[in-house]
């Protein structure tokens, strides 16, 4: 049933607010960054109901927030952001989701797209062979339990030390590719089992590996700092913590079902189960979630190295030497302890981002030194046929959204609807006519990820740019896509 938009007030050009309800079901207001069309679209499913449910969370600070790529999820809407106090607030596994640290990294290439285009088809074949993708498919890295603990506690830094890339790669990840509070012993045996053979694998669903060309630069200074130039070849890798992360979330949503009763919470939705941040349950969840986040960073790092090796193998077949450097790597699904200004005071908060990207401003100490003068790179992948964007974080985001921005285009069509409405062969042909090389594990999976299943990425990015949450730096056009 559509959400009653008479409850929604416009409070800025790109910001709408649902005031705190009088019935006590919301502890604070809910805010959505959107334009009119995105707002109307969000009202058509349960996104806004899910957002007002988030406003129920005990100890929530500021408003429950949603980005313009909002769409219906479970518990939180996708595109949701909520910060909670450490002393009186909760952490909710449903505020992170099952694919913990599903995220995206961007590699900058030393070549222009034009230099690679003649080799693109063979390159996509080589990458498809080098990076296992698809449902449940294991990778070449098979770990013993003791080694897995190193991955869980070391993240991208473990990968670099183990020979998958460099220390600089890890330094160019959010959190340096490793959340220090991770504890392998907080991750169940079953979750660890699922993680033993999936490091370095793409997975399925909306995960992808994409070669792009930088087609527009909007901010020369920031583009220069990020190492981006028009015509350049870049690579995006979108994946997460695979079965291990899914199991961590499953385990803690289950455990919290019991503890929620003990803490006396009257949940609006059982998927919003939560526990005080400082409780044993809350601390264990944060340790396990951080371990899964580290696993995801290691996963993307190992895939990065596999792509580099695939490019290297093609050198003998005519591809010029191609150096791929990690520009940045952001988490989309995560809860982290961060320091933010609240009513003039500097406070540590537990910031949940579920389908949202951190967007820290210039000068922030958590932004890598090489980018600190312009702000954190904010990576916003679009659909496989349209465009992706690189933006930079701002002080506005820090003040209004706990340093957060959108994470992608956001779906508008269910997977089932996409399967029934999109002819996958026709889609592949359409993409190829646009010069985009497609490698997909299944035609049905390709149809589910069709461009028409997503919002207009340009519109979503204009909202965050117009609202000042993240500013446009460059636009990317897809050249070749591997779909999981």
């Amino acid at each position: 049933m559509a959400y009653d938009l008479s409850r929604v007030q416009q409070i800025g050009q790109y910001c709408y607010e649902i005031p705190r309800a009088a019935d006590g079901s919301m502890r604070t207001s809910a805010r959505l960054y959107a334009d009119e069309e995105i707002l109307r679209s969000a009202a058509e499913d349960r996104s806004l109901n899910q957002l007002t449910n988030v406003a129920w969370l005990p100890g929530i600070v500021g408003s429950a927030l949603a980005m313009p790529d909002i769409h219906e999820g479970y518990g939180f809407p996708i595109g949701g952001v909520a910060a909670t106090g450490l002393k009186d607030g909760v952490v909710s596994p449903g505020g992170v989701g099952y694919d913990i640290n599903c995220g995206v990294r961007l590699l900058t290439g030393s070549l222009d797209a034009n230099e690679v285009r003649p080799h693109l088809s063979r390159l996509m074949d080589a990458v498809t062979q080098a990076v296992p993708s698809g449902v449940g498919r294991g990778g070449d890295v098979r770990l013993k339990r003791a080694r897995l603990a190193d991955v869980l506690e070391g993240g991208a830094q473990w990968a670099a030390q183990a020979g998958y890339g460099s220390r600089e790669d890890a330094e160019h990840c959010e959190e340096g590719g490793r959340i220090a509070r991770a504890r392998a012993d907080a991750v169940s045996d079953r979750a660890q089992d699922r993680g033993l053979d999936q490091v370095g694998t793409l997975g399925s669903g909306n995960h992808f590996l994409e070669f792009d060309e930088v087609v527009d630069v909007y901010d020369d200074r920031a583009a220069d700092a990020f190492g981006l130039r028009p015509g350049q070849l870049v690579v995006q890798i979108h994946s997460g913590s695979r079965g291990l992360g899914h199991q961590v979330c499953t385990d803690y949503v289950r455990r919290f079902q019991t503890s929620t009763k003990r803490f006396g919470y009257d949940l609006p939705d059982r998927e919003l189960v939560c526990a005080p941040v400082e409780s044993d349950e809350g601390q264990d969840y944060l340790a396990a979630m951080s371990a899964a986040a580290n696993y995801a960073w290691a996963n993307r790092q190992v895939m990065t190295e596999a792509v580099r090796r695939a490019c290297e193998r093609l050198r003998g077949a005519g591809l010029p030497a191609l150096i791929l450097s990690v520009l940045y790597d952001v988490a989309h699904n995560v809860a982290k302890i961060e320091t933010h200004q609240v009513r003039g005071k500097s406070l540590p908060l537990c910031v949940h981002r579920k389908g949202a990207t951190r967007a820290f401003p210039p000068g922030h100490p958590d932004v890598p030194a090489v980018y600190r003068s312009v702000g954190q790179p904010v990576l916003v992948p679009g659909d496989m046929g349209t465009a992706s964007y690189v933006l930079r974080g701002t002080d506005v985001a820090m003040a209004e959204t706990f340093g957060s921005s959108c994470h992608g285009a956001g779906r508008v069509m269910s997977r089932g609807a996409a399967r029934s409405r999109v002819d996958a062969r026709d889609l592949r042909q359409r993409l190829e006519q646009k010069g985009i090389v497609v490698r997909a594990g299944s035609l049905k999976g390709l149809a589910e990820e069709a461009p028409e299943a997503y919002k207009d990425i340009h519109r979503v990015v204009e909202v965050v740019h117009g609202a000042g949450l993240a500013l446009k730096v460059a636009r990317l056009r897809p050249l070749g896509v591997v779909k999981g």
């Binding site: 499913d45 996104s47 769409h71 219906e72 999820g73 479970y74 518990g75 996708i78 449903g94 989701g97 099952y98 694919d99 449902v135 449940g136 079953r190 089992d193 699922r194 997975g203 399925s204 669903g205 079965g243 899914h246 199991q247 979330c249 499953t250 949503v253 289950r254 079902q257 019991t258 939705d269 059982r270 998927e271 189960v273 779906r411 508008v412 069509m413 269910s414 997977r415 089932g416 609807a417 299944s442 049905k444 999976g445 589910e448």
Partner: protein, 131 residues
Amino acid sequence: MGFEELQHTADVALRCWGPDVSGLFTAAAEGLASLIGRPGAVKDPFSVGLSAPDVETLLVDWLTELIYHAERTGGTFCRVEVVISPSHELQARVWPAEVVERRGVVKAATYHGLMVEPRPEGCTATIVFDT
């Protein structure tokens, strides 16, 4: 007994029904199997025993067990036999199968809006799967 897929923007929602709680759980398992793929060669059955504080938790636990098994084996399942006691204990036999036509991955069964509702004609529940 059966299931139908409902519209959900990001994930998959299944409305499942059966003549009783055991039938509902059987339908939910069949619905889940349909999301994974079409079954091929059948393998040796295995047993599942679970208990939970309430029927909704038991339903999520049951589906979680099946999701875990499907991922670890890379397969699906073609038949289940489920018996559920009034004290929310489950005993089941599951016949796994190879997948001949894969549909997708199911990451988890969620509690989102989950309620097992007794109806005159039996039991129903709508389950949102993260896919």
